[in-house]
């Protein structure tokens, strides 16, 4: 029984941190620009494909450090795409109704799918984790794949890094000011447009890095963009729209609910995430962190 609970917690954490890695950029963009970016899954997918090309171009199974360098490069590529998206799309969405943003970012998601199809084709692709992460660790009787431990660590580090960045750095504090009141920030002489641009590039880069990090555990296909998007939106909504801490806590909560739900009621696979989402929204519609904590 202890073994089962240990494995269920471990799997719940894996679900949570994989989802948080995707959701972090999504919630940051919403917190600062107030745009619900449906295309986030598409850029997550592009990050995964860019990393796939880098890895296979360098011979497939790579040492850990090269895999991490590949992930950073994928983040850089997707961050640059974010720059283009901000210039071409997001700037035009800042003063329009939310419905236009939803339509525009959904269209962008379709463009991402089409681009992936044109460049990488339709076939399912896959790569193996770096050899250093392709083994199993036993904690008592619970066996834990090292790649999954790595993903959990990445999620935790990403959260700590984002919290420190937002609360302890000058740029982070400027971002919070802009998120709280862009009009006042502009009056105070801040270059709001530049801060928006930095936020978009940073969020897109996080999507790209997330895609690259998670790739060895996923099949790659033009459908990948949609697979994590629903989960990521779920944790962003449960956490409180725009809150990094909320997204982290939301991911943990939903991941553990999903994991224990599947353990106790295996005949109803995949519904516990949705069920929990619905119940939490009914009980606390503003999300765990409410509206007070933006970014």
């Amino acid at each position: 029984m202890l073994y089962d609970i240990g494995l269920t917690v471990f799997n719940g954490l894996a679900w949570a941190m994989a989802t948080f890695l995707v959701a972090a950029g999504l919630t940051l963009i919403f917190g600062i620009l107030h745009i619900l970016n449906f295309a986030h899954g598409g850029f997550f997918m592009i990050g995964a494909y860019v990393s796939y090309s880098l890895m296979t171009g360098m011979g497939g199974s790579l040492p850990l450090w090269l895999y991490l360098v590949g992930a950073m490069l994928a983040g850089l590529v997707v961050g640059l795409l974010g720059w283009a998206v901000d210039a071409l799309v997001f700037r035009r969405l800042r003063d329009v109704e939310d419905a236009y943003s939803l339509i525009a970012t959904y269209a962008l998601l379709l463009v991402c799918g089409g681009a992936v199809q044109l460049i990488w084709g339709l076939n399912y692709l896959g790569v193996t984790p770096p050899p250093a992460l392709n083994s199993v660790v036993f904690v008592g009787n619970v066996f834990m794949p090292t790649f999954t431990i790595f993903i959990i660590l990445c999620g935790v580090l990403a959260y700590i890094g984002l919290e420190l960045f937002i609360s302890r750095t000058q740029l982070g504090q400027l971002i919070r000011v802009v998120a709280a009141d862009p009009w006042m920030a502009q009056l105070l002489g801040l270059n709001v447009k530049r801060i928006y641009l930095i936020t978009v590039i940073f969020s897109f880069a996080m999507a790209g890095v997330a895609g690259a990090l998670l790739m060895p555990n996923q099949s790659l296909s033009p459908e990948l963009g949609g697979i994590f998007l629903l989960q990521a939106f779920g944790v962003v909504i449960v956490g409180g729209m725009g809150s990094i801490r909320g997204a982290f806590l939301g991911a943990l909560l939903l991941g553990l609910i999903e994991s224990f739900g599947t353990y106790f009621f295996p005949q109803y696979p995949g519904i516990f995430f949705l069920l929990a989402l619905a119940i939490i929204l009914l009980v606390k519609p503003e999300g765990i962190m409410g509206k007070e904590q933006t970014a």
């Binding site: 399912y124 392709n134 995949g270």
Partner: protein, 421 residues
């Protein structure tokens, strides 16, 4: 007054008829001597385009072959493609449009939902469709419609074939489990697997099969670890799965580090053919997979050899998958039926397809008149990872089972009776 009106009407009518007659004759002449238009309604965009591309290639290669051999009764065949998006609504619009343009004979359905929507549509619009890989058993059971034919294998022949082969070759494996997608088709495949295993194992060994509850997994998930943990807890020697496509690749990738495939003796994969192996390469778990058509199992069959060679020439891909052969077979079935009926009229073609035997890339197929279901060989291949093979995997064994021995009895209009398998 009445006479005047009649005379005017008569004059007008004669004039209209006179103007229209040349066109009526022309259309009729074209219908009799022009190309035979066959509609292909298949996914040409979206996630299922991967499969639609195989359908397109298979149909085009078959048409090349038919036309190179003089066409059908001296008439060439032309294909008219429309995008179904694997969606019943889009497919219905496309199919109706094609019938309006004269393509009453159609093929290309790969989705069960689309195939089930085609029956009433074809009946009301006066068309006929041959599916190209749609797997639902309802097609030749409770949702049987005389306007819909399946020239590929039924889910029973595919899955019962797989089970019978493994049970016969490894009768010592009695403890089985399953990882099944939580949708209607997944549950049907499991019913067939379980019923066949419970029947065959006692026949061979005199002992009962021990079958664990299937592990149901959601469609399109990015995380299967909880389900893998469930599978690890089960005391099984073999696992059957009908998880498909990208889901199967993700599931297998995540199961590898848990050692799930080292724990069991056999993995039976109902339908992925080369989809998993081409993605995972040397990380592919060793498994038996069901195939619509495996080219090596049909080497020496000129239709199969031609289909394989032309496919590789056209695409550069060495691993064509079975949907190509299903679309190819659909064209050959239409060719056989039109020749037999000497007509392309829907009613005549339906009558000719019923009971038709025709040659295909998997050998002779026979379409049962009772339920429009073809009897064809069930093909299976054992795929193993290989560090020496250029693609990271190789097929080390394959079998082609006599279709007569693995297909269920025809029961059009009635639900599948798993007790009778």
């Amino acid at each position: 007054m009445a006479n005047k009106m009649n005379r005017r009407a008569l004059v007008k009518g004669m004039a209209v008829a006179g103007m229209a007659m040349p066109f009526v004759n022309l259309r009729s002449a074209v219908a009799q001597s022009g190309p035979i238009n066959i509609g292909v309604v298949t996914p040409l965009s979206g996630p299922a385009q991967l499969i639609g591309n195989f359908v397109r290639e298979g149909a085009e290669i078959a048409v090349e072959h038919v036309n190179a051999n003089g066409g059908i009764n001296g008439r060439e065949v032309a294909l008219m493609f429309r995008d179904s998006k694997a969606n019943p609504n889009d497919a219905s619009v496309a199919a109706r449009e094609l019938i309006g343009e004269g393509a009453n004979l159609q093929l290309g359905t790969i989705s069960s939902a689309v195939a089930l929507a085609m029956g009433s549509l074809m009946e009301s619009e006066g068309g006929v469709v041959i599916t190209s890989g749609a797997g639902t058993e309802k097609l030749n059971h409770e949702n049987y419609n005389p306007h819909v034919f399946r020239v590929g294998d039924s889910p029973v022949s595919r899955n019962a074939g797989l089970v019978r082969h493994i049970a016969t070759s490894r009768p010592e494996l009695r403890k089985w489990g399953g990882i099944i997608p939580d949708h209607e088709y997944g549950r049907t495949t499991w019913k067939i697997f379980e019923a066949t295993m419970r029947k065959v194992i006692p026949e061979l060994t005199g002992e009962e099969a021990v079958i664990s509850d299937p592990i149901l997994v959601p469609y399109g998930s990015g995380d299967y670890r909880n389900y893998i943990a469930q599978a690890m807890r089960q005391d099984v020697e073999g696992i059957y799965t009908s998880v498909y496509g990208g889901d199967a690749v993700t599931l297998y990738q995540q199961a590898n580090p848990f050692g799930l495939f080292d724990k069991i003796d056999v993995l039976l994969d109902s339908a992925n053919e080369f989809l998993v192996a081409t993605a995972m390469k040397e990380e592919t778990p060793a498994h038996w997979s069901g195939f619509h058509w495996y080219f090596e199992a049909n080497k020496g069959n000129p239709l199969s050899d031609n289909l394989y060679e032309r496919y590789v020439e056209r695409t550069g891909d060495k691993y064509p998958m079975g949907w190509a052969a299903e679309a190819h077979a659909a064209i050959l079935a239409y060719a056989g039926a039109i020749e037999k009926a000497d007509s392309t009229e829907t009613g005549d073609v339906i009558a000719a397809l019923k009971g038709l035997s025709f040659d295909s890339a998997t050998g002779v197929r026979h379409i049962r008149a009772e339920d429009n279901q073809a009897i064809k060989n069930a093909e299976l291949a054992f795929i193993e990872p290989s560090t020496s093979a250029p693609d990271g995997f190789e097929v080390t064994d394959y079998v082609s089972l006599d279709g007569e021995k693995v297909i269920e009895a025809a029961r059009p209009g009635q639900m599948l009776d798993t007790e009778a398998l």
